[in-house]
C-alpha cells in the first residue's frame, strides 16, 4: 500500500529510558571514536573525556529541545518529523560547536563539521529505535494470534448442546460421544494456539467437529475426504480446517433441505501443501459477512505464520463455493 521507504517511528523523547539509551549509544560511539583516534590505551581516557565533553552537551541539549517540542513533532507527517529531529540536532550541535570552539583550541571543530556528525548520529539512532520497536512486535503478533484463533460460532455451540439434549434420552451413548467430542474441540480451542500443528491433528479435530454436526444434521451432511497424497506431518496453523468446515456447513449444508456434500482435498505438491474445501452454494452467490470474517481471520493468520509464502483464494464454480489455500511444506517431528 505505502511507498517502499517507510519513515521511522519516533521514540518518546521525554522518556528517561530513551534518554539513557541515547546517552549510552552516543557515549559508546565516542568511545569507539576515541579508540580509533588514540595512539595507545594510556591516552584513551583523555581522548574519551574530550570527546564525551563535546558530544554530551549536544546530546542532552538536543533531547531537551526534542522533549519540549514533542507535541509539535507529533503533528508532523512521519518523514517530516524525522527530518525535524535531524535538523534540531544539527542546529543544537552547531550552536554548541560555535560556543565551545573558543574554549577548546581545536581548529577542526567548525560548526558545520559538528552538525554533520550529529546529523549522522541522529539518523542512525532513529533507525535503531525503529528497528527495536519492530523487533518487539512478535509480542504483538502473538497477542493477535491469540485473539484470532479463539473464535467459534456461538450458533454451533448452542445448537450442538441442544442436539445433545435432544438425543440424550433416546440414545445416551450417542449423547456421551457428542459431549466427549465437544469437550475435545473446546480443549483445542482454548489452548495456546500460537504454534504450527501437524496436519494430522487438524484432520482428526475436523473429523470430530463434523461428527458433532452430523448429530444435528444427520444425512444432510455428506463429506468426501481426499487426503491420500498429503503428508500428515505437514505443519499448518492451528484451527484452520475446522473454521473452514464450519463455514461450509453453515453456508453450504444448512440452507439445503436435502443432502449436500462438502469436498475436502489435502495434497502435497512440490514442497507446497494444498488445502481445498468446496461446498454447495445455497442460492445466494454473494459470500456472507460471517464467512468473509472467518476468511479474513485465516488470511491474517497465514500472513503471520508464513508471511507471503501462503495464499488463500476463493471462487465460485457452478453451484459450488471453494476455498483454496496453499502453504509451504514445513514439517516437524511427529510421533
Amino acid at each position: 500500500m505505502g511507498p517502499s521507504f517507510r519513515a521511522p517511528r519516533l521514540p518518546d523523547f521525554c522518556n528517561l529510558g530513551i534518554w539513557l539509551r541515547v546517552l549510552l549509544a552516543v557515549n559508546g560511539m565516542a568511545l569507539a571514536a576515541a579508540l580509533v583516534r588514540s595512539r595507545g590505551l594510556a591516552h584513551l581516557p583523555a581522548e574519551f573525556a574530550e570527546l564525551a565533553g563535546l558530544v554530551e552537551p549536544v546530546c542532552l541539549g538536543s533531547l531537551l529541545v526534542l522533549c519540549a517540542g514533542q507535541r509539535w513533532l507529533g503533528r508532523l507527517p512521519p518523514s517530516g518529523a524525522a527530518a525535524a529531529v535531524v535538523a534540531v540536532t544539527m542546529l543544537v550541535s552547531a550552536l554548541f560547536a560555535s560556543l565551545l570552539t573558543p574554549l577548546t583550541s581545536g581548529e577542526s571543530q567548525s560548526w558545520w563539521y559538528a552538525g554533520i556528525w550529529s546529523a549522522l548520529t541522529a539518523i542512525v539512532l532513529l533507525m535503531w529505535f525503529d528497528l527495536a520497536a519492530r523487533a518487539h512486535s512478535p509480542a504483538v503478533t502473538e497477542a493477535r494470534l491469540m485473539a484470532l484463533t479463539a473464535r467459534i460460532r456461538p450458533h454451533f455451540l448452542f445448537n450442538s448442546l441442544n442436539a445433545v439434549l435432544g438425543v440424550i434420552r433416546a440414545d445416551p451413548r450417542r449423547a456421551e460421544q457428542a459431549l466427549e467430542e465437544l469437550a475435545e474441540l473446546f480443549r483445542v480451542l482454548m489452548q495456546d494456539n500460537r504454534e504450527l500443528v501437524p496436519l494430522s491433528a487438524e484432520i482428526s479435530l475436523a473429523r470430530q467437529y463434523l461428527d458433532l454436526e452430523r448429530l444435528r444434521l444427520g444425512e444432510r451432511l455428506q463429506v468426501r475426504w481426499d487426503i491420500e497424497s498429503c503428508p500428515p506431518d505437514a505443519l499448518v496453523p492451528p484451527l484452520m480446517l475446522q473454521p473452514l468446515l464450519e463455514n461450509a456447513v453453515y453456508h453450504g449444508i444448512e440452507p439445503l433441505a436435502g443432502p449436500g456434500e462438502i469436498d475436502v482435498l489435502l495434497a502435497g505438491r512440490q514442497n507446497r501443501i494444498l488445502i481445498e474445501i468446496a461446498n454447495p452454494c445455497g442460492g445466494s452467490g454473494t459470500p456472507h459477512a460471517g464467512n468473509r470474517m472467518a476468511l479474513g481471520n485465516i488470511r491474517e493468520r497465514l500472513l503471520l505464520f508464513f508471511d507471503l509464502e501462503a495464499t488463500l483464494a476463493t471462487d465460485l464454480a457452478g453451484d459450488r463455493y471453494r476455498v483454496r489455500i496453499e502453504l509451504p511444506y514445513r514439517h516437524g517431528d511427529v510421533s
Binding site: 450458533h155 445448537n159 441442544n162 442436539a163 445433545v164 444448512e254 433441505a257
Partner: protein, 259 residues
C-alpha cells in the same frame, strides 16, 4: 380443565424437534398439549398443517426452503392465526427485534420451565399477529416471500416475485404468474398494503407488478353525445392478456410509465 393446547413444532434438526417433544411431555401435567404436526421447514409445516388449526407454533428461525420468519408471516395471515414462539440458538439481531416488538422466543438449549411459561402466556393472550409481523419486518424486510393457495386440500406456495398481477373476482382473489392462476384467500386491499412497493393498483379490482408493465395502449372510445371517453389498458411482460386501467388510476400508471 381446558382443552390441551394444539402445538406445531418446526425445526430442521431432528434432535431439536425431539428435545421439544420431550419437554412438552415433561410439562404435560402443568401445561397440557397435543402435538398436531412437526416439520423440518416452513414449507413442510404449511403442507402438513393443511387446513387444520393450531394454537401455538414453536418455530426455529434458521431453516432451509422457508425459514421461521417467513413461516410466521404465513401463519399470521391465516384466518385464525396461532401464537408463534420462535426458537433460536444464537441470533442477536433477531432476539433484539423480538424484544422490541414483544414477541416471545426461546433460546436453545430450551429449558422446560421457560417453555411452560411461554405456552401459558400463549394460552392466555390472543395471537399477537401485529407484533409478529413487525418483528418479521425488522428481521427480513419486504413482506412475505410466498402466498398460500389451497387446491383440493393441498397447499401451494406461490412466490410473490413471480406474480404478475392480482385480480379480484366475485368472491376471491387470483394471483397470475407466467404459468397459471392461483386462488388466494386474502383481500386485494390487504395485498396492496403489504406489497405496496412491488405492486400498484390499476383498477378497483386489480394490482399489477410495477416491473411487469411493458406499455399501454388506447383500448376503445365510447362516443357519447357530448364527451369522448378514452379507455386505456396496460400490456404486461410474460402474459398475453391486457388489463384495463380505470380512469381514476390512469394518472398514476401513466406517471410510472413516463418516468
Amino acid at each position: 380443565m381446558s382443552a390441551p393446547l394444539r402445538v406445531l413444532i418446526v425445526d430442521d434438526e431432528a434432535p431439536a424437534r425431539m428435545r421439544l417433544r420431550n419437554l412438552l411431555d415433561d410439562i404435560a401435567d402443568r401445561v397440557p398439549t397435543s402435538i398436531v404436526a412437526d416439520a423440518a421447514d416452513g414449507v413442510e409445516a404449511l403442507e402438513k398443517l393443511g387446513d387444520s388449526e393450531v394454537d401455538v407454533a414453536l418455530v426455529d428461525i434458521r431453516m432451509p426452503r422457508m425459514d421461521g420468519i417467513e413461516l410466521a408471516r404465513q401463519l399470521a395471515s391465516q384466518a385464525r392465526p396461532p401464537a408463534v414462539i420462535f426458537a433460536t440458538a444464537y441470533d442477536q439481531y433477531a432476539v433484539k427485534a423480538f424484544d422490541l416488538s414483544a414477541v416471545d422466543y426461546l433460546l436453545k438449549p430450551v429449558k422446560a420451565e421457560r417453555l411452560a411459561e411461554a405456552l401459558r402466556k400463549a394460552a392466555r393472550t390472543p395471537a399477537a399477529t401485529a407484533a409478529v409481523r413487525a418483528a418479521a419486518e425488522a428481521i427480513e424486510p419486504g413482506g412475505r416471500r410466498h402466498l398460500r393457495s389451497s387446491e383440493r386440500g393441498k397447499v401451494l406456495l406461490v412466490p410473490v416475485a413471480e406474480v404478475i398481477y392480482f385480480k379480484a373476482e366475485l368472491k376471491y382473489v387470483t394471483a397470475r404468474t407466467g404459468e397459471r392462476e392461483f386462488l388466494l384467500e386474502e383481500s386485494l386491499a390487504q395485498l396492496e398494503t403489504e406489497f405496496a412497493s412491488r405492486f400498484m393498483r390499476i383498477h378497483r379490482n386489480c394490482l399489477v407488478a410495477r416491473d411487469a408493465i411493458a406499455g399501454y395502449e388506447r383500448e376503445r372510445e365510447h362516443e357519447g353525445a357530448a364527451d369522448v371517453e378514452v379507455c386505456w389498458s396496460v400490456m404486461l411482460r410474460g402474459v398475453p392478456e391486457r388489463l384495463p386501467v380505470s380512469r381514476r388510476q390512469w394518472p398514476q400508471v401513466k406517471a410510472l410509465l413516463e418516468r
